[in-house]
Symmetry: C2
Subunit: 124 residues, 2 copies
DNA sequence: TCGTGGTTACAAAAAGGTGCGTAATTTACT
DNA sequence: AGTAAATTACGCACCTTTTTGTAACCACGA
């Protein structure tokens, strides 16, 4: 076990949602029920392993529900839980925030307060 | 430029907010202007390297404004930009979502989603 | 043999920590 | 007086830890 104490909930959520995949998977999952291979098609750059890893993480967190149908070839379906659905608008809001705040290209906005030095040295 | 064009804004935000520190720093910064050493005190486990790295990332993203005062010992102050302030309630909402959906912290009220294992051991 | 969902072992890459150096000025000690 | 140390916010180099990718394997029925 790595860490045991839950400091603030924000840390917890971010630990869950951090990385490229969690929000992306939620994004695709909000479209409805998806199978493993569907999600791979939706997002071709995720590796097999990552997908099953992330899916399990979301499942453990109660965001995604996994339904396994018997038989072969094995069939498994994933869908958002009610809790997962409640999360969607929050994630969307973040996306909207991004669009409206730092839009497109550079944002310089020299605020011009009292301090002496210039604000930012630009980098790559 | 390092990354390709912006796919969906959600990916962008998450790339920015992913990790332990960004949201934490925003959390502390919403209390007002902070200096480098203040933030280190607020969060003793962050290394000075990480702090300056994350701070610069947030600055580049337009969330944090860095104000450098001349003189020695050098003094630098950090504060949220208006955009950064707009981000705060969204992050709070995520925290609230976590509290109300999954009880990780040791609250009561089993949500009744799955057979509970032992409540002491939780896997990452 | 293929196709599905998943796991494991190993390798690569990314993230993160430690410690040293730097600046200009004040304070501390000799 | 003169030297040494501390201060603040970093950058850089080096090293460890964590995460992610690759590839192969398993199950089994068509």
């Amino acid at each position: 076990m790595k860490s045991l104490v839950s400091r603030c909930p924000i840390e917890e959520v971010m630990q869950l949602l951090s990385g490229r995949w969690p929000t992306l998977l939620i994004y695709y999952l909000k479209q409805g029920t998806k199978r493993f291979s569907d999600l791979r098609r939706d997002n071709p750059t995720i590796s097999h392993k990552m997908l099953s890893l992330e899916l399990r993480k979301l499942e453990d967190a109660g965001i995604v529900e996994r339904t396994e149908f018997g038989g072969y070839p094995l069939r498994v379906e994933y869908q958002l839980t009610p809790g997962g659905h409640r999360l969607v608008p929050l994630i969307d809001a973040l996306g909207y925030w991004w669009e409206t705040t730092s839009d497109g290209g550079g944002h310089s906005s020299s605020a011009g307060a009292e301090p002496v030095v210039s604000n930012t040295v630009l980098r790559d």
